[in-house]
Symmetry: C2
Subunit: 234 residues, 2 copies
DNA sequence: ACCTGAACACCGTTCAAGT
DNA sequence: ACCTGAACACCGTTCAAGT
């Protein structure tokens, strides 16, 4: 049944005219619903009722398509307001960053492959740098801790995206059980800790996040103290 | 020229008899020399002078092959001695872990896909748990901070493996320049911080590592203090 | 017992040809 | 100007057949 009736009422009506945005929409629905592996040029073409190779008229390659996808997703972080103290703002930015990665795990790798100079990432970076400098960090330290923040959020998200591909639920239980069943003379620590393993991902993320924020706060306080001392002496 | 002379002296002499280890050796050389994308069943077969499908006699799938590869690489961490205070041991374990990931970036993803109950990973975990408990953490906290450590090392390594695929050198310089060239009224913080961006990866890793170790030490000290207080009261 | 070879159902991408 | 269709050079994997 090649005809779908009502939708074909106008003669030779294309369902949608092809464009970068239309293609990105299609790729996003496929990725979010069927996972990263399902995003193929052929599948995107099928989704749009179009020959797969027609996409090459709008994107030079699949890679370019994914890069464009990634930047579009970063826009979601920018849209949120980030107000309050530097610590509140930075915390919210990192949590929101992880949330965007987490909401679109199929595209995490593409987002990380991104060079950092894409438009929306620049605006995110600007806010992060602002918070770090307000915390009292020197420009050099701000750059350093920016790197630490990026690694923390992106690294965690990448891991979680990969783990999500495997069925986490069953493997967590299995591992916990396996560790509990190890020979206690050779693996005393594994046996002791086994029942507490693999708590909720959000909890673990927040522990690491607070650790990071504390370290930044301490570094800022130290810098302020050093400056005071310098002033007193001078 | 299909004959290679001396090596073919015996009639119908196979270069090597196929086995799991021989196949893993081949996969490792290919991965380490030509990158993750080069590891295909066809390429591994060619490396061994064998039909690609012969590998399926020893591994059920490519995935099973990669999982076996990963466990073999984790053995490298176990082989190193880890002595000294808990802090020295934990630090060395995490640094060595990152080093193994870093030495074989083609297999990082396979290593992370691993369930944690593979033989060599269990022995690594045992050592990590031991250090954390010696630091004074409760079993519950030991499990929590074990998770944080895993995320930090694995996440960082995964990121670095991906970044390595792109040519880092040029993109770092490009990004630094791009940030410096942004309109200063809209991106004051980016412009200020630009020259300090993207310092050496090892430095950033160590800053995060010390942060993590400090947090564990503080948590251990707090737990000890709480226990003392309890003893005094009781 | 172990390996081969043809085959299947996929990929990304190119390019001449259609409308 | 934009899309199609055939084609190319790849994948992982299966299975009957060879030795």
């Amino acid at each position: 049944m090649p005809s779908r009736g009502a939708e074909d009422s106008k003669p030779t009506a294309r369902p949608t005219r092809l464009s970068r945005d239309v293609i990105l929409d299609a790729a996003q629905t496929i990725g979010d619903h069927e996972g990263a592996a399902a995003i193929t040029m052929r599948r995107v073409g099928a989704e749009l009722g179009v020959d797969p190779t027609a996409i090459y008229r709008h994107f030079r390659s699949k890679d370019e398509l994914l890069v464009a996808m990634a930047d579009r997703l970063f826009a979601e972080v920018i849209e949120r307001e980030h107000t309050g103290t530097w610590r509140e703002r930075l915390s919210a930015l990192l949590i929101d960053g992880r949330a965007v990665y987490g909401a679109h795990p199929s595209f995490v790798e593409a987002m990380i492959d991104q060079p950092d100079d894409t438009p929306h990432l620049q605006r995110i970076s600007e806010r992060v740098f602002g918070a770090l400098r307000e915390a009292g960090l020197s420009n050099e330290d701000a750059a350093l801790f920016y790197d630490v923040c990026v690694r923390y959020v992106a690294g965690t998200s990448l891991l979680e995206a990969i783990w999500q591909r495997a069925d986490v639920e069953t493997s967590v239980v299995a591992t916990r059980r396996a560790y509990a069943a190890l020979p206690p003379d050779e693996f005393p620590n594994c046996v002791a800790v086994a029942p507490h393993l693999y708590r909720d991902s959000d909890d673990v993320f927040k522990v690491g996040l607070e650790m990071l924020l504390d370290a930044i706060e301490a570094r800022g306080a130290r810098a302020a103290a050093a400056k005071d001392e310098g002033t007193e002496r001078g």
